[in-house]
């Protein structure tokens, strides 16, 4: 099939970007979206043009590197990662808009590549537990209710791709932070830091130029891992608990 792509081109963070049109021919419906971009880039290189910069790594839907706004929807028309989106989701002659994630917390590096280190900083302030190192402890010595372990595992499937921020009308990172807070807060191993974790992670999120959550739900609808809005309620529950307990983040 033949497609017209309108791609955001931006040379560096300081310059203004714009949408540029490209034509791609002979696209197989079995190609992934990223393979289709590879084909376009080979064409551009042959034409002595600058290839389009985009993030990608595992191409198996697990590493969270790829992430594009495709026709105004984070990761495109399927609820999956961009690398797992196939060209059979489009038809011959389609015009496809491709943009980077847009957020104050995710500055554009080049073209479709954004700097997502804000997520790393949110994890760094609270996404850990204190555990003794050495031999692995006997697993049965710390029982975890099945319901809690299931909910914690659902939250832990968050790969941190940033689609939630990209899709949110407020540009909020709440679903990401909530997934991390829920994941550790539900496990017995996560209890010692539970109050301090939610306070520091929410404070870091606010410091990163992300918006505030108004529970619209766009984030969960585009999340490739289907992280539920329940996690946001859980974060708020923990936050109110921590504030009531007068918890002070450990320095």
């Amino acid at each position: 099939m033949n497609l017209t792509l309108k791609v955001w081109r931006q040379v560096n963070p300081a310059t203004k970007g714009k949408m540029v049109s490209y034509h791609v021919t002979d696209v197989s419906p079995d190609m992934s979206f990223l393979e289709m971009l590879d084909v376009l880039n080979e064409q551009l290189i042959l034409d002595n043009d600058d290839p389009i910069a985009f993030d990608h790594d595992c191409r198996e839907g697990i590493c969270s590197s790829c992430g594009l706004m495709i026709n105004g929807i984070a990761h495109g028309p399927q609820q999956t990662t961009t690398c797992q989106l196939h060209m059979r989701s489009f038809s011959d002659g389609d015009v496809i808009d491709i943009e980077p994630w847009r957020s104050g917390g995710f500055p554009v590096v080049k073209d479709l590549v954004v700097d997502r280190s804000a997520f790393d900083r949110i994890i760094a302030v609270g996404g850990f537990i204190s555990a003794p190192t050495g031999t692995a402890p006997e697993a049965h010595s710390t029982p975890v209710p099945k319901r809690d372990s299931d909910a914690a595992f659902d939250a832990a499937t968050c790969i941190g791709c940033g689609a939630c921020v990209a899709a949110c009308p407020n540009g909020s990172a709440m679903l990401f932070t909530a997934a991390k807070v829920s994941h550790l807060g539900l496990m017995p191993q996560g209890q010692p830091e539970r109050d301090a974790r939610v306070l520091t992670m929410v404070a870091q999120q606010d410091a990163e130029d992300f918006g505030g959550c108004t529970n619209i739900g766009e984030c969960s609808a585009v999340c490739p891992k289907g992280i539920s809005m329940e996690t946001i309620s859980r974060l708020n529950h923990d936050l109110l608990g921590a504030l009531r307990a007068g918890a002070v983040p450990a320095s």
Binding site: M69, G104, N170, G212, I216, H237
Partner: protein, 208 residues
């Protein structure tokens, strides 16, 4: 946002039930209005109940507006460059109209106070009884339409607000999600219907 919203919802329930006195006739409605002013007398000074309600409501409205403004300002900072194309995936009409709806509701409240409380913009003028003011306003089609539009927006505001407040207070989970949304829809519809029967009754001549 959630706490100030809940306080205002409690007031809205009481206000809606109070309005229904209109169906018991002019005397009952005016007596109810008088009772609100003289509640607790002679143990309490006049207007004690009303003054307490007014203070609580003013504080709630200001807190709600401040929270809404902060969220709006934060959202603007959070997306300095707009998308060229952006599609909605699942957001409700109610969640999308929250900010403009809230602004229109604020303007409506100002009008409503000038109309029904002070009578300044009421066709009956300032020295009329509450019942006369109500009937006079709702016999005027443009005023009635404004009331209807504002109340429908208020209903949408509550439909999203009740769900959002439940989330903010950390009381939602996967199993409750559907029932919380169902309750939000049913409650908003019933509340707004309770308000709208009054102008409808005047417009159709059941109350005059």
């Amino acid at each position: 946002m959630a706490v100030s919203g809940i306080i205002m919802v409690l007031f809205l329930i009481a206000h809606m039930i109070g309005n229904l006195h209109v169906f018991q006739g002019a005397e009952s409605f005016n007596d109810y209005s008088e009772w609100l002013r003289t509640f607790g007398e002679p143990a309490l000074p006049p207007r004690t109940l009303l003054t307490v309600i007014e203070i609580v409501l003013v504080v709630s409205v200001l807190a709600h507006m401040w929270a809404a403004y902060s969220l709006w300002a934060q959202a603007r900072r959070a997306r300095p460059v707009a998308y060229v194309s952006k599609k909605r995936v699942q957001q409700s009409f109610a969640s999308r109209t929250l900010r403009w709806g809230g602004t229109i509701i604020l303007l409506f409240i100002i009008w409503h106070l000038l109309d029904m409380t002070f009578g300044a913009v009421n066709p009956q003028g300032t020295d009329s009884s509450p019942y006369d003011r109500l009937v006079a306003s709702f016999q005027n089609i443009p005023i009635t339409l404004f009331y209807v539009v504002a109340l429908v927006l208020l209903g949408l505001h509550l439909r999203h607000g009740i769900w959002s407040a439940t989330q903010t207070l950390g009381q939602t989970n996967k199993r409750r999600e559907r029932s919380v949304n169902a309750i939000a829809i049913v409650f908003s519809t019933l509340l707004i219907a309770g308000y709208l029967v009054v102008p409808a009754a005047v417009a159709f001549g059941l109350v005059d």
